[in-house]
Structures are given as structure tokens and as C-alpha cells.
């Protein structure tokens, strides 16, 4: 009996070793350990043994059973691993095939630029306000201290709807509208569309975007204007950017200045973006003219303020090296998708 068990063990192990698939292994298990399995049959025959033999054979039988089970377990794990390997191999894909295409919409590059500017100024406590695109001569010129004979008032410069109503030629209109409504402290920016009687070409557009800024409070200085614009420039163009504050002249500010930033492309060495000068003209600014404050009912003896205005189209064109302003309003999808 013992010998029979041993030979069973040997043949079971050999069959287990031969099994390649889980099914074959299961067959082997049923064959030896199943209800009608060979080992089970042998054990069933134990009843015919003498009481002395029974414990001895029983012990051997248990050892054989344990040994077969151990082999089965090991083989099972082995096969499972192999089968997993097989499955993974069969599932291999060409990962260099193209990904599925998602449609991603983008904001217009001008809006992206405006968003960036708004974020910078909101961070410095500026509120965003809006004004109408069609406005009066009063808000666009008179209240801004623009001389009656200023060339910008000509029909050849500004679009008119009537003698008194026009398409605003700058966002400075919002300065007046804001100061009429709000008491200092005032700290606002106002982005928006402006219009000038320019025939479209690579660098001119009859419609363009500006961003106006205005701060009015007690004790506001030209130094504050410099500081505010320095923060803006460093945010927008990077921390290494230098700015140049040049005296200039505008009817609505006094003192007035123009601000240049060192070219972000060449850092001031001169390149095609800055036309070799190393500097890029950024904006016009100055201390709000006392006449403008008075026109809005703010006492220039008590309050002072600064204002600035910049062309957003130009900023964006510089930043992305766009050489034709008309591209911004053509809206070719291949252009829009680049930003």
C-alpha cells in the first residue's frame, strides 16, 4: 500500500509538472485528489487494513496528499504567472499611434493678454470697470483737457456719429466716468475697444484694444506711478525687465511720461522685435491734470492721482511676435489655435 502511495505521488507530480494550462492542472487535481480521484480511492481502501497498519499508512497517505497539494499550489502559481504574462503580451499596443483628438477651445489671444493684465492689476488692488464704446465728445476730449483745436479731434482721426457723439479713441473716457461716480480712493483699470480713423494695414487697425488705469487719492505721487508700472512690467515681461520713464506730453496728464521696457526678446541688445533699439514703447502715463480732476468735481488741492493707458494689441503682438495686426481680427482657426 505504501509503495502504491509513493508511486501515485510520483506519477501525480510528473503530471503536474507537465501541465501547462490551468485546465490541465485542474484535470490533474481531479484525477488524484478529486472525489473519485486515485488518491481518494486508495484512501477509501484504508478500511481493509489492519489496525496496526492504519496509522502508518495513514501517515504516509497524508504526507503524499500534502506533497501533491503543495506541488499543485506551486504549479498553479507558476502557470498563473505565465498566463498573465501571456495575456499582457497579447494586449501589447503600438503606443506610438496617435492619441485621440480632443477639441480644445481657447480664448482669443487679445483676451488672454487682457486677462493677464487684469490679474496683475487686481493683485495691486485695482477694480475693473467698463465704459461705452460709443461716447460723447465731452468724455472723450473736453473733460480730458484736450485743446479745442487738438488734431485728434479731426474727422480724419476720430470716427463721429454726430457732432457730439463719437467712437471713443481711447479708454481714458472711463477716467472721467469713474471720477464722476466714485469718490477717492479710486483705483481702477478699464480694458476695452477703441477706434481711430486708420486704414487697416500691418501695423494699423481702425479698432484696437486699450487698457486704462487710474488712481486718485490723497498724496499720490509720480513715484507711485513709477512703482506701480514697474510691478506691472516685471510681472508681464519678467523680473529682469528694465523700464525707462521718459518725459512726454498728453493733454490729460501733467507731468506726463512715456514708458519703454527693455526688449524681452533681446534684453536690450537690439533685435527685430525692438527694431534694434533695445527698448519697446509700452504706454503713456502721468499725473492726472488738475483741470481733469476739477472737471470731475475732485479738488486738485486735496487729491492727486495718476493715470496710464496702453495698447493691448501692441503688447500681444510684441509678446508673440505677431507681425500683422490684421491677423488678430481675421480669426483664422489655425491662428487662434496657436495661443
Amino acid at each position: 500500500m505504501e509503495a502504491k502511495l509513493k508511486s501515485l505521488e510520483a506519477s501525480a507530480k510528473s503530471e503536474i509538472d507537465k501541465a501547462i494550462t490551468s485546465d490541465e492542472l485542474e484535470k490533474a487535481r481531479v484525477k488524484y485528489l478529486g472525489k473519485k480521484g486515485e488518491l481518494t480511492e486508495v484512501l477509501r481502501g484504508m478500511g481493509s487494513l489492519s489496525p496496526e497498519e492504519r496509522p502508518i499508512v495513514g501517515k504516509v497517505a497524508n504526507e503524499v496528499r500534502a506533497s501533491i497539494e503543495a506541488s499543485l499550489q506551486a504549479a498553479k502559481e507558476n502557470i498563473k504567472g505565465k498566463e498573465l504574462q501571456q495575456k499582457l503580451k497579447s494586449e501589447t499596443i503600438d503606443v506610438t499611434m496617435p492619441g485621440k483628438q480632443f477639441k480644445i477651445g481657447k480664448k482669443h489671444p487679445l483676451t488672454q493678454g487682457m486677462d493677464e493684465l487684469k490679474d496683475i492689476f487686481i493683485g495691486m488692488g485695482f477694480k475693473v470697470v467698463e465704459g461705452p464704446e460709443v461716447d460723447t465728445v465731452y468724455y472723450n476730449f473736453d473733460a480730458l483737457n484736450s485743446p479745442k483745436n487738438h488734431p485728434s479731434r479731426d474727422m480724419s482721426d476720430t470716427f463721429y456719429i454726430t457732432e457730439d457723439i463719437l467712437l471713443r479713441c481711447h479708454t481714458s473716457t472711463v477716467q472721467i466716468r469713474t471720477m464722476e461716480k466714485l469718490k477717492p480712493p479710486i483705483r481702477i483699470i478699464s480694458p476695452g475697444r477703441c477706434f481711430r480713423n486708420d486704414t487697416p494695414d500691418a501695423t494699423h487697425s481702425p479698432m484696437f484694444y486699450q487698457l486704462e488705469g487710474l488712481v486718485v487719492d490723497k498724496g499720490i505721487t509720480l513715484g507711485d506711478l513709477k512703482g506701480t508700472l514697474e510691478v506691472f512690467v516685471k510681472h508681464f515681461f519678467g523680473g529682469h525687465t528694465k523700464i525707462k520713464f521718459r518725459p512726454h506730453n498728453f493733454p490729460f496728464t501733467e507731468p506726463s511720461a512715456e514708458v519703454d521696457a527693455s526688449c524681452f526678446k533681446c534684453s536690450g541688445e537690439g533685435c527685430s522685435v525692438c527694431k534694434g533699439s533695445g527698448w519697446i514703447e509700452l504706454l503713456g502715463c502721468g499725473m492726472v491734470h488738475p483741470n481733469v480732476l476739477s472737471n470731475c468735481g475732485i479738488d486738485p488741492e486735496v487729491y492727486s492721482g495718476f493715470a496710464f493707458g496702453m495698447g493691448i494689441d501692441r503688447l500681444i503682438m510684441n509678446k508673440y511676435e505677431i507681425d500683422d495686426i490684421r491677423l488678430l481680427f481675421e480669426n483664422d482657426i489655425r491662428f487662434l489655435n496657436q495661443f
Binding site: M124, G125, E130, V134, G219, P247, H248, E254, P255, E330
Partner: protein, 796 residues
């Protein structure tokens, strides 16, 4: 304003390299646009004298010149015909380099040796427009003797740098050499050296020969006249021509050149009349008669208006004041005696005259910007001084000067502490005085305040703030410390409207739509292109008085035309797919002389192979849901002229029409040359803004399982899905969580004009697990209603 640096140095001591000077001037407010190196790259040109001219044996059009260049006699072949023996000319010798990098070498011309080249002004790099009549064709013949063989560039001071300044409108005084010199002196801390003007004059007195009467005292503030006898009209000396050319003025003849020279020097326009063509002895400055004719010296006959100021004699008009002289009294080569005018004309009046005539001249531009009345006599005297210096005429002893209201220097009081408050500086009063004095503004400290005396040429200085700029810019804007504004707390941020605009753009971007931006003005024809009804409000435009052209002549009343334009452009450029939107304003007229309504609108457009009406509708629904708007529905619209009558819907939010969407009508497609079906929506953004729900509160996630049930019903084709959904919604009770249309089937087993519509319904109870009975009850009720109200039958 073009400023030749060598000329500038005559008034101010400048030791700096020009680039550094330019940087400093820019930073003190005189912005430098460009620096041109005049004569750069030209070398090897010497003074030569033509000693003999022989015919060329092999060419009729060429001659052989013997040219003396001091140590050598060169043989040079030339084709020029304007030279004669004894002429002094620029000679490019072997190895010379001329303008345009032209290299000169010894060689043979038609068999004859030529050891160099005689140069024209063009070859010396002078712009064609600045070459005088005499020098236009042929060799540059010098007007006097120069040392033979000397470096041409040195001898006539040819090499120079020319700075171009941008002069702002508040500083017309800087449109002159003296004005720029004053700025340079203040910038560099130097003193300006003005020209020392002295006129000798002859015995005869001008005041015995002529009179001036100003009748139009508004148009003419001052009139200075001087008389010059026996003038000799010829070419002006080279040094003067050089300065004019570098300053961008073409030399003409000595008298014209001198008046131009003094205009450049002082900024005072001057005019010379042929005295012998003036009738009588009186110059009258008066208003023109309406409709009068007058021939200006450019040969054009002009019709005058009654507002125009004229210079006249007893019989006729002589000049349009401050604009242009007349042909009749023009100085010609035959002119012997001259009346020199140096006057001050009102700037507004001159500007209007110039505008009405459509005639802009150097003089009218300068008078329009403003010329200081106190300059007139100085400039007239300077002209006379130069005439005497060049010995080309005899100046009569005195000047006739009619100046009814002399302009005096202005007195202003400035508080130094206020200046520092505005600038954010601590500049000492002493330094302020020094700065003001460097600008020729006298300043005295009296009881803590500065009493400033402002010269009449500085009309721009009217207020304390103007002085803040003067002191600030000379002190240096660049050294004013940068600070951040202190004071009251302010809160930054966007308006609700803007925040919602951002949100809208984000949602549309997320659904694959690109933002587009288009002009606010359009062609009035656009409403025809989209077939707007003849009585529609969209035909009532805000019109421009002075549009660039028809294409941009009215403010848009809708965003759709521009969007279709953009779609058309993209289709024409073979861009296969397009999803875009614009969020912008439309303009609707209000009352007369009132600003129009500016209303925000949203337009969405899409085309492409995989796109249809439902892409667009899905985007609109996504936008609404994303904005927290649930109370919306769509209704078929069959009469909108822009859209396909069977593929168009109106959007209702809370019962109000909020927009229209649909497939573009084939005729409209045709009008925009569209070959791909396009789908567009126009939404009233103000309604979306008003109804958007920004604040939301959290709903707990469900704890109990859901039960889903499907059904399919067969209905007549004309029944809208919307009607089925209304029944589902109205009868679903509290346990209907959601429903979804998953199939519409037409064909086999479904009778004609019918469709099978299949839904999945999801039920859930918030407090317990649902039973089949719970669900059956509701589902049966829904199906019964569909049968009863819509005539539907349950499909097995």
C-alpha cells in the same frame, strides 16, 4: 525736427558722443527718434580744379578732363556737361568709396585712361529731394575756391550726425535750433550761446519808404517788415546749403535759403516779397473777401473765404497770411529789391485757413502750432545780418514793426512743497531755482513760494503741475524713487458681469469653442446678407459720419454677420472644422443725441464633418447648465429668415426668448459662399447674466440604490420629443431622478410617419430602497399619459 549736431554745437558746448547726448535729451523730454550718420562710408574724395576739357576721341558724349588735385594732375573721363574750366569739384580718386558702397578704381573708358571720378551730389549720398535745381543733373560744382587736394568731407564740413527729435505739441518752441539748444543746455548744465545779431544798414530808412497797417488785429498780432535793396540772387554758400540739406530743406537761392535758415534757427517763418511788384507804399493786413480768387506761388488759383487773413497792397492781395505767398509778388532771379516779412499770425486762424484751403506749408504748420510774437523782430534782423554778411544786398536802416499788444512774460507762483508732493521727491528749493533758471525761467523765493517769470515762448507753462514736470524732467524722472501708493484700503476685483463673461468663455472653451473677436462696425448690407426682415430693429443702425468705407460704416446690430464672415473665411481657407464664439456688444439707437444702447450678445458657430444642429444645441445646453440655468426649453422656429425653417429653434429661459439657434439657411450660405453646412446661435447675453446662478449649495450624494427602467413608444412623426419629456417630468413624482433619450427608430415594424422613441428612466428614493411596486406605479402612470395625450403605443 532734424538737428545737425555740428550746427547745434555752435550754440552749446557739447563734448559728449552724439549717442550719449541723444540718450540724455530723450530722458529730459526731447525724444530722439533716430541718429543719422551723414556722409558715413564716403572716403577718398578730394577737392579738384578742372584745368582743361578735351573731347574724347572715341565717344561723342564723353569728355576728358585735366583735374588738378594739388600735388597731381589727374586725367578723368566724364559724361557730365555742366562743367567748365576753372570749376572746383569733388574728385573721387583711385580707391575712393562713395554712397551706396560704390568703389572707384583707375580704369579706361572707351580706350582713354580715367584716374578717378567727378562726383554728383547724388553720388555723395544726398537724398534726391534735397538736391537743388543747379545740382540735379551733373557734377557738384562748388560755388567758390577751396584748397586743392584737401579732403572734401573736411573742407565743406560734409560729415555730420543728424538727430531727429520728436517734438510734442506743447513745445513748438523746440521746432528750432535755438529751442533744441536751450533744452540741450538745460539737460547738460551748460549755457546757451545765442547768435549775436547786429545789422549795419544803409543811410536810407525803411520807414520813409513803406508803411504797415494791421486792420485784422485778431489774425495778425505783429508785423515786422525790412527792406533790402540791390539784392543779387544766386546760389547760397556751401556751409549754408549743407546745413539746410542736413536739416531736410532743399537749397533754392540765397534769399530763400537765408529765410529758411533763420526759420530753422529760430522757428520764425519768414517771407520775401519782390518790392517792385508791390503797388504803393503800404502793406495792409486784412480779412479776405468771400469768394475772392488768389493765385499762390505754387501756381494754383485759390478761392478765399472771409475768415482768411491776407497781406495786401493798395490794389491786390500779396499773400495768404502765414500760409503761402502769391505768384505775382514772388522773388525771382530778376528781383532787385525785397520786402522781408517777419510776422506773428494767430494760430487758430492760420490752422483754419490752411484747413479750408487744403494747403499745408512749413509756415502754416508752424503758425498753427504757435510762434512766439516776440521772435519776429529778432528773426528779421537775423536775416538782414546774414544778407549783409554774404554781401548780397543793402539793408535799409530801420525795421517797420507794428505790434499793437506786446506779449509780456508771465508771472506765476509755485509752492515748492507741492511740487515735491506731486513728484514724490525731496528736491531742495535751491535746486528747483537752479533747474528753472537753466530753462531761462527766472525764479525768486518769496515767503516760501517761488515767483517765476516765464518767457513768452513757453505758453505751455500755466499751472503748478506744469512746473512739476519741468523740475521733474530736468531733475530726472529716472532718479525719482519708485514707490507703491499708500493710503486708504482699496479692494480690487472684477465686476459680476465680467466674472460671468469669464465663466462663459471657460465653458465654451471647454466644449472646444475658440473665442473670436471682430470689428464693432460693419457694412449696412450685412442685414440683407442674413435676410433680416425689412421692418426689423436690426436695420436701425448707429451710423458713422466719416467711415473708412461702406464695409465699416455702421455699428453692428447683431454678431451673426461677422461670425458668418469668419466662418466663410475659414471655409475658403480649407479649415475643415470650426467651433467659435464671440461675446461682444451690439448697438441700438436710443433718442436723438443720446448714446445708443450697448447690449452684450453671444454668438456661437460651428461647422465640420462630425458637426450638426445638435452639436450646437448641446453647446448651448452645456453653457446654460454650466451657468446654473435649468429653466430653459427650445421651441421649433419655422419663420426665422436666416435659418433653415425645419432646423431652427428659439431658446426660452423662464418663459422669455433668450436666443435663436439653427442651421444657416441655404440662401444665406450662398450669400457668404459657404459650402459646408454651418450652425449658429445668437443669445441675449444680458438674459443669461441676469438668470445665471453663481451661488450653489451642496446636495448630499445618494445613499440608496437606483432602479432604471427602459421603454420605447411609437408615436406620430410630428410629436416633439419635448412633449414626451414634459409628461415624464410632470408625472415622475419625487422618485424620478433623471431620464435620457437613447434611441429614435424609424423603419421596419414601424408604420410610416411614425417613430419609435426610447428612454431610460432612473428612479431613486432619498430615504429608502425603492421596490418594484414603487417604480411600476410611476412608470405605468407615465406610459398611460403618453398613450392618452400623445397617442403613443408601447413598443414590445
Amino acid at each position: 525736427m532734424l538737428v545737425p549736431v555740428k550746427w547745434l554745437k555752435e550754440y552749446v558746448n557739447i563734448q559728449l558722443p552724439t549717442k550719449e547726448l541723444a540718450d540724455k535729451m530723450t530722458m529730459s523730454g526731447s525724444k530722439v527718434e533716430t541718429i543719422e550718420a551723414f556722409g558715413e562710408g564716403i572716403e577718398g574724395v578730394v577737392i579738384g580744379k578742372i584745368e582743361g576739357i578735351l573731347p574724347h576721341p572715341n565717344a561723342d558724349k564723353l569728355v576728358i578732363c585735366k583735374v588738378n588735385i594739388g600735388e597731381e594732375m589727374l586725367q578723368i573721363v566724364t559724361g557730365a556737361s555742366n562743367i567748365k574750366e576753372g570749376d572746383y569739384v569733388p574728385v573721387a580718386i583711385d580707391g575712393a568709396r562713395l554712397a551706396g558702397n560704390l568703389k572707384i578704381k583707375k580704369g579706361k573708358l572707351r580706350g582713354e585712361v580715367s584716374e578717378g571720378m567727378l562726383c554728383s551730389q547724388d553720388e555723395m549720398g544726398i537724398a534726391k529731394g534735397l538736391i537743388s535745381e543747379e545740382n540735379k543733373d551733373g557734377i557738384w560744382v562748388l560755388e567758390q575756391e577751396y584748397p586743392l587736394g584737401a579732403d572734401f568731407m573736411e573742407v565743406i564740413n560734409f560729415k555730420d550726425e543728424v538727430i531727429e527729435f520728436e517734438i510734442t505739441s506743447n513745445r513748438p518752441d523746440c521746432l528750432s535750433m535755438v529751442g533744441i539748444a536751450r533744452e540741450a543746455a538745460a539737460t547738460l548744465g551748460e549755457k546757451i550761446e545765442y547768435p549775436h545779431i547786429r545789422v549795419n544798414g544803409i543811410e536810407e530808412k525803411a520807414s520813409d519808404k513803406a508803411k504797415v497797417i494791421i486792420e485784422d488785429t485778431e489774425g495778425c498780432l505783429r508785423y515786422v517788415a525790412r527792406l533790402i535793396k540791390n539784392v543779387e540772387i544766386k546760389e547760397s554758400p556751401q556751409w549754408m546749403q549743407q546745413r539746410l540739406i542736413k536739416a531736410g530743406v532743399r537749397p533754392i537761392n540765397n534769399i530763400v535759403d537765408i529765410t529758411n535758415y533763420v526759420m530753422l534757427e529760430y522757428g520764425q517763418p519768414l517771407h520775401a516779397f519782390d518790392l517792385d511788384k508791390i503797388s504803393g507804399d503800404t502793406i495792409i493786413i486784412k480779412k479776405s473777401k468771400e469768394g475772392e480768387k488768389f493765385k499762390t506761388l505754387d501756381g494754383v488759383e485759390r478761392t478765399l473765404k472771409a475768415t482768411m487773413t491776407m497781406i495786401a497792397d493798395k490794389d491786390k492781395n500779396l499773400a495768404i497770411a502765414g500760409v503761402m505767398g502769391g505768384e505775382e509778388s514772388e522773388v525771382t532771379k530778376a528781383t532787385k529789391n525785397i520786402l522781408l516779412e517777419s510776422a506773428s499770425f494767430d494760430n487758430d486762424n492760420t490752422r483754419n485757413t490752411s484747413k479750408l484751403l487744403g494747403l499745408r506749408t512749413e509756415a502754416s504748420t508752424r503758425f498753427s502750432k504757435g510762434v512766439d510774437s516776440n521772435l519776429a523782430l529778432t528773426a528779421a534782423n537775423r536775416v538782414c545780418q546774414l544778407i549783409e554778411m554774404l554781401e548780397i544786398g543793402e539793408v535799409l536802416r530801420d525795421a517797420i514793426d507794428v505790434y499793437p499788444n506786446k506779449k509780456e512774460n508771465r508771472q506765476l507762483c509755485i509752492r515748492p512743497n507741492r511740487i515735491n508732493e506731486l513728484l514724490g521727491t525731496n528736491i531742495e528749493v535751491g535746486e528747483m531755482i537752479k533747474i528753472l533758471e537753466s530753462l531761462e525761467i527766472e525764479a525768486n523765493l518769496i515767503e516760501g513760494k517761488l515767483q517765476a517769470t516765464v518767457p513768452t515762448y513757453r505758453d505751455d507753462l500755466q499751472l503748478e503741475a506744469d512746473f512739476a514736470e519741468e523740475i521733474g524732467r530736468i531733475y530726472g524722472f529716472d532718479v525719482i524713487p519708485a514707490t507703491m501708493a499708500r493710503g486708504n484700503i482699496v479692494v480690487g476685483g472684477k465686476t459680476n458681469g465680467e466674472a460671468f463673461e469669464d465663466k462663459t468663455k471657460q465653458l465654451l472653451n471647454a466644449m472646444g469653442f475658440n473665442e473670436v473677436l471682430s470689428y464693432s462696425f460693419v457694412s449696412p448690407k450685412t442685414v440683407d446678407k442674413i435676410k433680416v426682415d425689412s421692418n426689423s430693429i436690426k436695420r436701425n443702425f448707429v451710423k458713422l459720419l466719416n467711415p473708412l468705407g461702406d464695409e465699416t460704416s455702421v455699428m453692428r446690430t447683431g454678431l451673426l454677420p461677422n461670425l458668418l464672415e469668419i466662418i466663410s473665411r475659414n471655409q475658403n481657407r480649407n479649415n475643415h472644422d470650426f467651433r467659435g464664439f464671440e461675446l461682444g456688444k451690439i448697438f441700438i439707437p436710443k433718442g436723438e443725441n443720446q448714446l445708443p444702447f450697448e447690449l452684450p450678445q453671444l454668438a456661437i458657430g460651428v461647422y465640420g464633418e462630425a458637426e450638426d444642429f445638435f452639436t450646437l444645441k448641446g453647446a448651448v445646453e452645456g453653457l446654460l447648465k454650466g451657468s446654473g440655468i435649468d429653466d430653459f426649453e427650445f421651441e421649433a422656429e419655422k419663420n426665422h429668415p436666416t435659418y433653415h425653417p425645419g432646423r431652427c429653434a428659439n431658446l426660452f429661459i423662464g418663459g422669455n426668448v433668450a436666443g435663436t439657434l439653427g442651421e444657416i439657411h441655404p440662401e444665406v450660405m450662398n450669400n457668404y459662399s459657404l459650402d459646408k453646412k454651418s450652425y449658429c446661435a445668437e443669445l441675449d447675453f444680458s438674459i443669461l447674466l441676469a438668470l445665471a446662478r453663481v451661488d450653489r449649495s451642496y446636495k448630499p450624494l445618494p445613499k440608496y440604490p437606483a432602479i432604471t427602467r427602459d421603454f420605447a413608444v411609437v408615436l406620430k412623426e410630428e410629436i416633439y420629443v419635448k412633449d414626451i419629456e414634459k409628461i415624464i417630468r410632470d408625472n415622475g413624482g419625487s422618485i424620478l431622478e433623471s431620464f435620457r433619450l437613447f434611441d429614435i427608430y424609424r423603419g421596419n415594424q414601424i408604420s410610416e410617419d411614425h417613430k419609435s422613441v426610447a428612454y431610460t428612466l432612473t428612479y431613486r428614493h432619498s430615504q429608502r430602497t425603492l421596490t418594484d411596486e414603487d417604480v411600476n406605479k410611476v412608470q405605468d402612470r407615465i406610459l398611460k399619459k403618453i398613450e392618452d395625450e400623445l397617442g403613443g403605443s408601447l413598443r414590445d
